[in-house]
Symmetry: C2
Subunit: 272 residues, 2 copies
């Protein structure tokens, strides 16, 4: 929590993030499952549909934010960083889960965060195909579903890793060695694992349906919006060594601090 | 194709299947992401929410079908088989992808097929949360999305396995030995693999967004509805040894017959 920024100011920025997510949806949806996307392109160096969609969405988001807050910094996946005259920087992934996007699966999302000196003070995850939105900016996390109703998000209790439902985007996300070994220890100690969640899985931790997400190799824009959503729902999200997750890297998100602690112990390389 | 059953009759049964899918949606949706579902129950032998939802949906489907076609047979995941006085049998999985259902992911679906002497003559896959429906009964496959518009489904061309996007529900679906080895050979030869697709992945093959699904250990009710959807979109779906897929087992679905043949060769145990 950043207690020296006025809550009403954060609420106004959260509305700005929501407007930016609306603009991103308009930019992205024409590409989702489009005829372009259905072409099976090999890696030929050309612009693929997801790149076009990514760029269109980032331009749209940047436009909405820059017109309201021109002094703020901006860091996006596609166009990199624009430094503002401010401790405040927007951190944006226009399409998190590009593989899901390309394959037509609805687990990708648009991630928009505002960070103050590198720590997220608000975050929005928008899934425009399912018309779902997850967000937090006031210390509480919220969900709006396809029916348009909004409700608070709350992680569930899970006091033992052996009962935890784990999710991770892909088993090959982890570098060989300590990283893969650490993930495998958690995998072996968990009740069950589901692959293929992308940012959607973190939001389902906030919703109290998944207990644990363990991933690696993430960028700041992959996680910045998700940290306040997890924390505002009562969960905990850190790096594998227990530090703030806001910058990316090896990331663990849990609905219950007890499961977080148990998994953290297994992720650490065993002492020799 | 079953050419001795009148096309108008199949069209009428397809409407019956759609009505049954509507009834299933009404029965299932109160359980999806419900408070009940958010309880993290260990395997305590009690009825979990997905079981309750599965049973409620199967009763609803069976009721719709039995009232219109009491002489037809019925085989469902939850309540097993009811033999009718007919070569025709409905084959139903009320919630295919129960793990996805429990975790709140939208890749599960209600599968309803009508088989004539063990071969599917129509199939419906309904995803009531995203309000998507995929079906086939007239030799052509169709999709209706959240916006309510209906369009035909067409697989895409993919002439080389090295360019194929592969999907499979879980890397641990395969029994150790020849089965796992066969999957790994296809995995190694494909462009990329996405886990966690459930029945949704087959429908995305029909939509021309995924090239290949390889799975094992499937039941008839897991695949019966998907065979006509894949075939009616121009794809091919068989067992790993090239026989009809309608009965389940080790299954491969491909959008292009060339990729199907290449994968089939790798799935077969190498000659020694």
């Amino acid at each position: 929590m950043v207690d020296h920024i006025d809550a009403a100011q954060i609420a106004a920025w959260e509305l700005l993030a929501q407007a930016a997510a609306d603009a991103a949806a308009d930019a992205v949806m024409p590409y989702f499952r489009s005829g372009l996307a259905a072409e099976n392109k090999a890696d030929n160096g050309g612009y693929d549909p997801v790149t076009l969609a990514d760029r269109a969405a980032e331009v749209a988001i940047r436009g909405v934010i820059a017109s309201a807050e021109p002094s703020h910094g901006f860091f996006g996946e596609e166009y990199g960083s624009v430094d503002g005259n401010s401790d405040l920087q927007w951190v944006v992934d226009p399409i998190d889960g590009t593989r899901a996007f390309v394959l037509g699966l609805p687990t990708w999302g648009t991630l928009i965060a505002l960070q103050h000196r590198g720590r997220s003070i608000l975050g929005v995850m928008a899934q425009p195909f399912t018309r779902e939105r997850f967000w937090s900016g006031d210390g509480q996390s919220w969900f709006r579903g396809p029916d348009g109703t909004t409700r608070p998000l709350k992680t569930r209790t899970c006091t033992d890793l052996s009962r935890a439902m784990l999710s991770s985007t892909h088993p090959d996300l982890f570098a060989a060695g300590d990283e893969r070994d650490g993930f495998r220890r958690v995998l072996g100690a968990s009740r069950d694992c589901r692959y293929g969640g992308d940012c959607y899985a973190y939001c389902l931790v906030a919703m109290g349906l998944i207990d644990l997400v363990v991933e690696a190799g993430l960028k700041a824009y992959d996680v910045a919006a998700l940290v306040p959503i997890i924390e505002g729902a009562g969960g905990i999200m850190t790096t594998w060594d227990g530090r703030p997750a806001d910058g990316g890297g090896r990331i663990i998100a849990a609905g219950d601090a007890l499961v977080h602690a148990q998994a953290l112990a297994l992720l650490a390389a065993p002492s020799r």
